[in-house]
Symmetry: C2
Subunit: 126 residues, 2 copies
DNA sequence: CTTGACCTTGACGTTGGTGTCACGGTTTAT
DNA sequence: ATAAACCGTGACACCAACGTCAAGGTCAAG
């Protein structure tokens, strides 16, 4: 199939697919006229990339997963490198959550300090 | 005082101060040679901006706070517009926290699905 | 034969808050 | 007088994942 069809089936833009290729995540053989030609396996690769991007992974993070699928594994996340990325990502997310919680507390503190009483009323006045 | 001194005292770069001015957050009179000349009040404005940026506010968010200080209030957060920003920001942060929690759960789910058993071991194998 | 839908590469725009030149004038100290 | 440190404006670089033209080649249908 050509890029337009793969894009439709995967729910992405052709531009995105060219970008993934440029980043070395996917590849395509070329037909005589220069058009990219994809197989069914590529749909799986793109789907994997998409589901990873959807949960906050970067394209770089997705690399080991794609490599894992290409290596013939039925799951992109079953290779050691992918597992490492999973762990790192979970740690990163936990970090961000902690940061946000701390930030929330700090904003709330600044708020009450700057305008005591405002917090409880719906339209605060100084 | 000139831009270099204000920058040092506020712990920012002169570049940042020029940017704040360009964004309409601070202003400076010019001495005969064209140099920006600041007063003590400007240090307070910049400090306010910094403490807001530090907790994830944008420069745009900081605008009402600066206006509030300029209007003579002793706290940048005591004006109604600032209070509105505080509320909005708290809501945004809460949203981000919820998003991150959901994302964390989803990543963990993908992880266990892709590689059941990997989660518990330190060096997972497929 | 021409419209129109598809494909190609290349390159700039987006977002925020600066960093980092370039190029030139001013001031201060020696 | 001259070097060092300061100031000015203007403009490109950054990060990520594309969107959106530009300018053109390809191909099937009518």
């Amino acid at each position: 199939m050509r890029i337009g069809e793969l894009a439709r089936r995967a729910g992405v833009s052709p531009r995105a697919l060219r970008y993934y290729e440029q980043q070395g995540l996917i590849s395509a053989r070329r037909s005589a006229n220069g058009y990219r030609e994809y197989g069914e396996a590529d749909l799986r690769l793109v789907s994997e990339i998409r589901s990873l991007l959807a949960v906050g992974f970067t394209l770089d993070d997705a690399r080991p997963f794609v490599a894992c699928l290409r290596a013939g594994h039925d799951s992109g996340g079953s290779c050691p490198e992918s597992v490492a990325v999973y762990r790192r990502k979970l740690a990163e997310i936990d970090d961000e959550i902690r940061t946000l919680l701390a930030r929330r507390a700090e904003v709330a503190a600044q708020f009450t300090t700057a305008c005591p009483g405002c917090v409880l009323r719906k339209a605060g006045e100084s």
